[in-house]
Every structure is written in C-alpha cells, then in structure tokens.
Symmetry: C2
Subunit: 258 residues, 2 copies
C-alpha cells in the first residue's frame, strides 16, 4: 500500500496544499492524477483519505477526510502489524550500509534505530547531514511499506549507554540482546529459549548488532554486566547489514508467536 | 573470512595457475601478494591452504596443500554453520531484486534458490545469461561469507512443480511453507508452532515466497493441496526481496534452535 505521511504541522484541516518534494512525490512518484485518492497518516497515527483536487505547476491541492478504519493493504507478505517494540542499536558500519539497514528495519516495523559507536567502528557517528538523510530514508520506507510503526533514527550513543538509553526513551520492562560470533557463557541459551524464557513476559526488545569487526571482550563484559544477553546465531558469517535484518526478523517472528 | 572456491576441474594437484577473473579476484580484489595465504575449497567441500607463489601479468601461481580442519573464522556474526537444509522457491520479482535475494540467501546458507513462475510474476523466467549471472553472484557471496553450504541457483519451475522438485532433488522428508498476506485455514498455525510441530522432525524446508502481487486463491489451493503449509507472518507489509530474507532468517533461527 502506498501511504502519504502528513506533514508534522498538519492539524486535521480539510484541505492541504503540497509543494516541493511532497508535491513531487504525489505527482511524479505516485503519478496521481486529479480525482485520485490515497491514504494519509498524521504523526499520531490517525489515517485520512486524501483526494487530489488540483495539480498545478509545483503544487497540488488535496482534500482531506478522516478515515474511521485502516485501509486494506495487499502485497507479497502479511499486513498484520507487529505488536512488540524492537529497537535496533546498530554499531556504525562502513560506507552506506547504515542506509540499507535503516530502510529494511523501518520496513520491518522497528520502533527506532540508534547508531552506536563501538571500538571496532571505523565509521564516524552521524553528522547532522547524515541524520537528515536517515530521516528521509525512514519516511520513504514508511510510505512504501505502509508501516504503522512510527520508526525514528535517534542520535548516536556509546555502547555503555544502551541500557539507560532504552529505559529512558522506551520502557524499564525489556529484554536486551547482543549478537556475538562465539558463546560467552556456560550453557548459553539460544535465541528461541531465551525469548521463551526472559523474553516471554516483556513487550520490548533492545537488539545490539556489532560493526564489521564485532565486539571485543571488554565490550561483551560491559553488555553482559548491564544485563544484556549474548546470542549466538547458528548461521553463516553474515555481513553486518544482513546480520541486523536477520536478527530483527528472528526476534520479531518468535516474539510475535509466543 | 575470505575464501577461494577452487575451479570445478581441480583434482587435488599441489599447484594451480589462475588466469582471467580468478586471477583478478586474487590479485586485485583480495590484493594478495606473493607469499600470502588464503583458504580454498573444492566442490566436495574439502578445504586447502593456498599460498601465492608467483604473480605474473594476467596470471598467478598458487601452491596447494590440503587442510585437516576448517580455518577459524571471525566476523560481526556467528560462524556456526546451519545444519538444516533450506531451499528458497522464489517467485520471480521485477528487475534486479532476484540478484539481491540470491546474494543474501547464499550468505545465510540457503542450499538452493529456485526461481518460480507464478501468475502474478511480471518478470520472465531466467534466460541463460541470467543463469550465469546468478551463478557468479552465488560464487561471490560464498567467497565473501565463507559459507560451507554449496548453494546453487536451479532452473526455473512452475508453482505446481515445487513438491515434486523438492522430493526429486533433495529429500522426501521435508516441511514445505508458503507465505501469504492473510490466514487461509481455521486455527492456522504461526511459524513457531508449525516448526515445533510438523517441522521439528524434519531436516529440510521448502520455503515459497510470492512475487510483488502475492499468490492468487487458486495458487494457494494448489499449494495447500500439495501439502505446503500457509504461514502468515506478524510483521509489516514487506517488499518481496525483504520477505524472502525475513522468512529464511526466521525459519533458520527457529529450526536450528529446536
């Protein structure tokens, strides 16, 4: 389903004039003609039926009417919305990998993506230019996927700050996991048994994924001591952008099934 | 871990001369200098220690010695190999999406990727040129990830042929799943309970993922009647390339944990 995210200053008025990139999205990307309709959503998650009334050079005028229920969506895969909150703490990877991670994580309904600076990160924390590019990627992914989760990319933090960051911005009642290439504890639980145990009663998950070089021993100790659970996935070596999406897919599927 | 896949005609000889793209991979991609070593693997899965003896213009000479055990690997995520066989039956998506799916599925250790022609496919089944590009993508992904699974891209088939194709090429003892955007059966099981039930005793999974338009009712009936289980994932609408990797990650994680 194509979706239009209404501007932050939208206040429920019954007409809206779009210009610039928003107009371009409607007219040139979605190729909407006058009279065509599309679903819109405001920042609170309320949905509206938008009708293209007039297309001018550089602007288009929409009439706006509130929708009682969500619009049916169809695509290659399910339209059920995830009920568990997943926040991805992604240690900064090289180059443009973060863009890919942000796009896919948004599509999967991750609540927030938080860039993390860890020892093996070669990339620099997001500059403001990066931050605005990230926000644009999130908006695009939400509009494409029709995700009902208000995904956001947050300011970069350090590895040590993860637990306090999660408790401050989300909830005290969560399960934190990080992925490592070898077992760190005796009888370490696999992801399924961990989620069926500690994860079964919580509604939120903090998922920490390393950079290309992974975590060093000191970082692992810090995370374990702060209550995060080490997880070893029984799969191949994955590139870190694949790893992030693999981890989110696994955690979301299991936690939503319990 | 970087890995070099030895040519199909390699017969265990103790010296090997590489030319063309293989030489280019060693010299320009991996930037190996004379005296440097890398792990090689032959088509049977046996590993060798390769030493660069001489680099000439357009060719390089390697000495080859068999390795007793596998080489340690390190990266952002685990190096355990998956033990369950997963075959991805991917209804042909538009454009270059199939390339992305093949790369990531190979990285995750999927045993085979089989292009499927279904009603809503707009793409044409692979031409021979596509097939050779696919093989190159698989080789590259195996070499990058050091996957120990001999992934292959097979010839396109039709949706109806999936069960017989799997039994002929893999095993009779398998669990087949397809992903759909709504529930098709009363008390339809979620992925976790299905894998804990029917999936718990099998060692192989056939995973069917639709094209952009999904499956139509007739196709769903055909698959259900041939013993495939419909699965509804509790996530957002996903693009079909994301859907394929999401499904593989979820199935692999759960089945390897049981």
């Amino acid at each position: 389903m194509r979706l239009y995210l209404l501007p932050p200053d939208f206040n429920g008025q019954n007409q809206l004039t779009l210009t610039g990139s928003d107009c371009n999205y409607m007219v040139n990307v979605l190729r909407l003609k006058e009279g065509r309709q599309i679903t819109g959503r405001d920042k609170s998650g309320k949905t509206y039926l938008l009708t293209v009334e007039k297309i001018k050079k550089g602007s288009c005028i929409l009439s706006v009417s509130a929708l009682e229920e969500e619009v049916e969506t169809t695509d290659a895969l399910p339209g059920l919305r995830p009920t568990k909150t997943i926040v991805l703490y992604q240690c900064l990877p090289k180059g443009r990998k973060m863009d890919e991670i942000i796009k896919r994580a948004t599509e999967m309904g991750v609540r927030a993506i938080v860039p993390v600076k860890s020892k093996n990160c070669v990339a620099e924390p997001s500059s403001s230019s990066k931050t605005s590019r990230y926000s644009a990627l999130v908006k695009e992914a939400i509009q494409q996927s029709g995700s009902l989760v208000p995904t956001e990319v947050m300011e970069p933090i350090s590895l040590e700050e993860i637990p306090s960051h999660f408790k401050e911005h989300f909830t005290q009642d969560y399960c934190g996991l990080f992925f490592h290439q070898c077992e760190l504890e005796e009888n370490q639980k696999n992801l399924l048994s961990l989620l069926e145990g500690a994860g079964a009663t919580v509604s939120a998950f903090a998922v920490v994924v390393g950079p290309e070089g992974g975590f060093d021993d000191g970082e692992c100790s810090i995370m374990i001591n702060s209550g995060l659970h080490p997880i070893l996935l029984k799969t191949n070596i994955l590139r870190c952008e694949t790893a992030a999406l693999y981890a989110v897919a696994a955690i979301q599927t299991i936690s939503e099934s319990l």
